[in-house]
């Protein structure tokens, strides 16, 4: 029996029913749920940010927070880490996905499966792994001190923005690879062979055949990683500790440690605005690149 949607697609008239609910009632549960768990807290948060504890103009808290060096450092850190991690994930993810998809080697399928499992790992696991390997008392430094007799090893970067960047790239790269591997599996082998027979070397094939066709998936993976990195909290807290403060960490510090709820709300509002703005900018950039790259993937017509 055809479903309601199928009937609508087929243009089959709906059978008259004696008692039907008005259609708008169907929208009520999701709107109510959205309002309860998302819109209402958002409104409260924005209202709180315009309600200074000490009185004064509504924007007083904004003036104070935005002028603070701690906020400006957090803003710079957030944008730097999110943009850097996204770029790193895109580059590394694309390269690794190319190898997994197109370079025949034993275990390529198993590696593809492992990426699916990796996506389910908690972020702190990666952070802990990096601490074990690259931390000041980690394996790498241990090998160095054992070999040279030095008091400490040369690796001491995990608590810097570079350490956070490394951790986020390590953790989020599979989020770029997954959609890319799906896109690569759709690239027709005949196209790659045709390109090779026409004289294109492997790198040219990647650049002019594979990349344009995988661009929508690459863009989707990049958007996902950008938004996740902008709001990442666990990795920054574990890896950067006190030395790297991003906007989510600043919200936590102000709200939980300092008890400055209004200040926390101000930072949160800025964080949300930044997320939306960067995401919108990214989508606009991708749309422009997509137009330059030509039409979207075509379906062949007989």
């Amino acid at each position: 029996m055809a479903s309601v949607t199928q009937r609508a697609r087929l243009g089959v008239p709906r059978a008259p029913r004696a008692r039907t609910l008005p259609r708008f009632l169907w929208a009520l549960p999701p709107v109510a749920a959205l309002g309860l768990v998302f819109l209402h807290p958002l409104v409260l948060l924005v209202r709180q940010s315009f309600t200074p504890d000490e009185g004064g103009p509504a924007t007083a808290a904004y003036a104070e927070v935005l002028a603070a060096a701690s906020f400006q450092d957090a803003l710079v850190n957030t944008v730097f880490i999110a943009a850097g991690a996204t770029a790193g994930c895109l580059a590394l993810g694309f390269a690794l996905a190319l190898v997994v998809a197109f370079v025949p080697f034993p275990g390529a399928r198993a590696l593809g499966r492992f990426i699916d499992i990796f996506l389910a790992f908690p972020s702190f696991l990666i952070t802990l792994a990096l601490l074990f390997v690259y931390g000041t008392t980690g394996v790498a430094n241990g090998v160095w001190t054992a070999a040279t007799g030095a008091a400490s090893g040369p690796l001491d970067f995990l608590h810097t923005p570079w350490g956070v960047l490394l951790a986020e790239i390590t953790y989020f790269t599979p989020f770029v690879m997954r959609p890319l591997l799906a896109a690569f599996s759709q690239v027709e082998t005949g196209q790659l062979e045709a390109a090779a027979s026409l004289g294109a070397r492997p790198w040219r094939i990647v650049r002019t055949v594979i990349l344009p066709e995988a661009l929508p998936s690459l863009a989707a993976g990049g958007a996902l990683v950008l938004v996740m990195c902008l709001n990442e909290f666990g990795i920054v807290l574990f890896t950067g500790a006190k030395d790297v403060v991003t906007l989510p960490v600043l919200v936590y510090t102000k709200a939980i440690l300092d008890g400055d709820y209004t200040g926390a709300c101000v930072v949160a509002v800025v964080n949300i605005a930044l997320s939306v703005a960067l995401y919108a900018g990214y989508r606009a950039l991708v749309a422009r690149t997509g137009r330059k790259g030509g039409a979207p993937r075509a379906r062949t017509q007989q």
Binding site: E188, G190, Q191, E193, A194, A195, A196, S197, L198, G199, A200, R201, R204, T208, V209, P212, E213, G293, G294, A295, P296, R297, A298, R299, T300, Q301, Q302
Partner: protein
Amino acid sequence: MAAPPETAVGPVAAKTAAGIRFDHVSVAYGDHTVLDGLDLTVEPGEVMALLGPSGSGKTTALRAVAGFVTPVSGRVLIGGRDVTALPPYKRGIGMVVQSYALFPHLRVADNVAFGPKARKVPRAEIEPRVTEALELTGMAGYARRYPRELSGGQQQRVAIARALAIRPGVLLLDEPLSALDAQLRSGMLAELARLHRELPDVSILYVTHDQVEALTLADRIAVMDRARLRDCGTPRELYRAPRTEFTASFVGNANLLPVTAGPGDATVTFGNRELAVRGTEGVAPGAAATLCVRPHLVGLGEGPNALRGRLAELQWRGATHRLYVEVAGHRVMADERELRTAPAVGDEVTLHFAPEDGVLLPAEAGADG
């Protein structure tokens, strides 16, 4: 499709004609041999069809020329040069596959320009080449379209233009018409024949499982089966005088009847009948052999080599009737021009064929006539 305008064929054609030579080429995947010791030469400017069923090794042979499979033994030569170890992008061959494999994100003109650009052809030379290749294939009016905006036949012509734009000495066509419907296929066959007339220096290796395509286009046909070359010759030779049962049954329809050579010269014994045939060379008197007679050369009614039997089945095929007649425990097919008064199934009928139309083949083990 409108006939393409006259074009400057010279520049599109290959600068030097190049033949292909398979020198005992074998390809295997693990223990499984997919091409077994192929020896075959495609002369410069020749159209050679590789004809065979699925799994016969014909596509593997083509891919060995393109460089997408590496032979475990033997050599592939193009224009006299050993290319066995060369990567595909250095071989300078044009290739067209069944699925067209056009680049969906590129317009038609950019698809055709892909090869010249990849081969670092000077920029000023690319556009004229693209225009010439598109004119040659009748696609000049579609340069700004994307592949998805074209029909299957148009996409296939763009794929051919793309292959020709690099001015290959060798063109590989891998089942190029399989994805088209019957009407389009017939039109494209004529197009390919015209293209070859206009590009007489380009050697074409044409892989197909369709005997009509092979018979229509090829100068010679190489018949392949189970990884081996079974027969090779002009279409007329293979059709009129096949050398093996496999060729006889795969190139056109054939009655394959078990006979014994003799007793006289150019005679065979079928059941208890003596039949006159073209010749019995290569078959010893008294030896088991197979008689091949094409159904359209079998007549209904009395005549030489009369075969009496019972009509088991009658099929009307528009212009012809196909009769299946039980003779001495074997079904004999006869194609007759549409019969005004057709016999009924179960009737006793007589078939005949001229002695020069009966070709004697050595019997093959396990073959079923």
